[in-house]
């Protein structure tokens, strides 16, 4: 340690000899906690909490049965958003990247989801089925994988060509797929699919991954998000359902999604990987915030913008301490 550093250390370590003020941090903390508790109780008593109607498979299948039905077929054919997502659910795609950093792919498949079995076949298998659905299920289970794929893809393509209007889909070599999709739609209408997808074998059911993914594959969740102004492209990250204030502090995260190239999914490479790029940008900015004390220029901003002198103006006035000249 040099002499100047030793002197500086001794100066910093020496007891304060200037003016002091009485200050009770425990008292201040207690008052703050009490005030916040009173406000929280008062506001929650009068304002309640967001109470939007829950989204359920029953609601989806009743309000838009064709869309639910088409989504069930997509789960069987492997063309749904979940089935083609990649990690952490499957290896169907490489996922998002930032330049050479394939973050999603490198993280690997940590929550494998087989949409065919977990979203359609397994839930149907839990039910007491009518003869035709039981027969269709048996046919599906005994068929070769390539045959299952051909049936489901043919029907999925036919529904796409019919623009989702199930009643107008022409007959074809779809195997048991139409019966299975109708069986799942009927199961959902009765409310049984909600319970079947939530059931994980534990007493407390807290993992809603499957439901949210299935919801996300169809139009139901998307439309609900648009109605409640919760879409990413309209600052949805900051909002809450109803008139409740949302997460205003997330404005900077949400901001990037409103401007090019992040708001254009067709813009390559950034728009197509907006989530990953924005995560990196916010990571760098957060690091900058943490490192403020060591960034030249930024660390001396309080001397250039002396808000603290405004807060402590009585102290500076009483002691005649002038601003340091630059």
């Amino acid at each position: 340690m040099s002499v100047s550093k030793e002197a500086k250390h001794a100066f910093d370590a020496a007891p304060w000899t200037g003016k002091t003020k009485r200050y009770d941090i425990v008292k201040e903390g207690s008052i703050a906690v009490a005030l916040v508790a009173i406000m929280a109780i008062f506001l929650s008593l009068f304002l309640g909490s967001p109470d939007d109607t829950p989204l359920t498979f029953k609601g989806w299948a009743i309000s838009n049965p064709d869309n639910f039905y088409a989504t069930a077929v997509q789960e069987l054919s492997g063309s749904s958003g979940t089935a083609t997502y990649g990690a952490p659910y499957n290896k169907a795609a490489d996922g998002l990247n930032v330049g050479p950093l394939w973050l999603q792919k490198w993280a690997g498949v940590t929550r494998p989801i087989d949409t065919v079995n977990e979203f359609v076949i397994a839930p149907l298998s839990t039910q007491v089925l009518s003869t035709d659905i039981a027969s269709a299920l048996a046919t599906w289970k005994s068929a070769a994988d390539s045959q299952k794929h051909d049936w489901a893809v043919a029907y999925d393509d036919a529904i796409t060509k019919a623009e989702g209007k199930i009643s107008t889909v022409p007959a074809g070599a779809y195997g048991p797929v139409p019966v299975l999709a109708q069986g799942l739609t009927d199961m959902a209408k009765g409310g049984a699919l909600d319970a079947a997808l939530l059931s994980q074998g534990g007493f407390f059911q807290t993992d809603n991954t499957k439901q949210i993914l299935f919801f996300g594959d169809g139009a139901y969740l998307d439309e609900a998000g648009t109605t409640a102004n919760l879409q990413g492209g309209t600052w949805g990250m900051m909002n809450e359902t109803g008139r409740y204030p949302g997460q205003a502090w997330l404005w900077l995260y949400s901001f990037w999604y409103q401007i090019p190239p992040f708001n254009n999914e067709n813009s390559k490479p950034i728009g197509t990987n907006a989530d990953a790029y924005i995560m990196v940008i916010m990571g760098i900015m957060s690091l900058g915030l943490i490192l403020i004390p060591v960034i030249p220029g930024v660390r001396s901003l309080p001397m250039r913008i002396p808000i603290h002198r405004g807060i402590w103006r009585q102290y500076y006035d009483e002691n005649g301490i002038k601003r340091r000249k630059k």
Binding site: K19, R22, L47, G48, D51, G242
Partner: protein, 54 residues
Amino acid sequence: MTGWISDFMNHPATYLKSGWLQISVSNLIVIILMLTIFALAVLIPFPKDKEDHK
């Protein structure tokens, strides 16, 4: 929870929009309140201590 306040709060929100900027009235109120409290914290003088220690 029921009651007219709860009903009012669970009603679809009003949003202010200008170009790519969009904000709910509720969020705007919260942000204005935060800025007001910050301004008051700067402007309101500290209470005078009963005793100062040298």
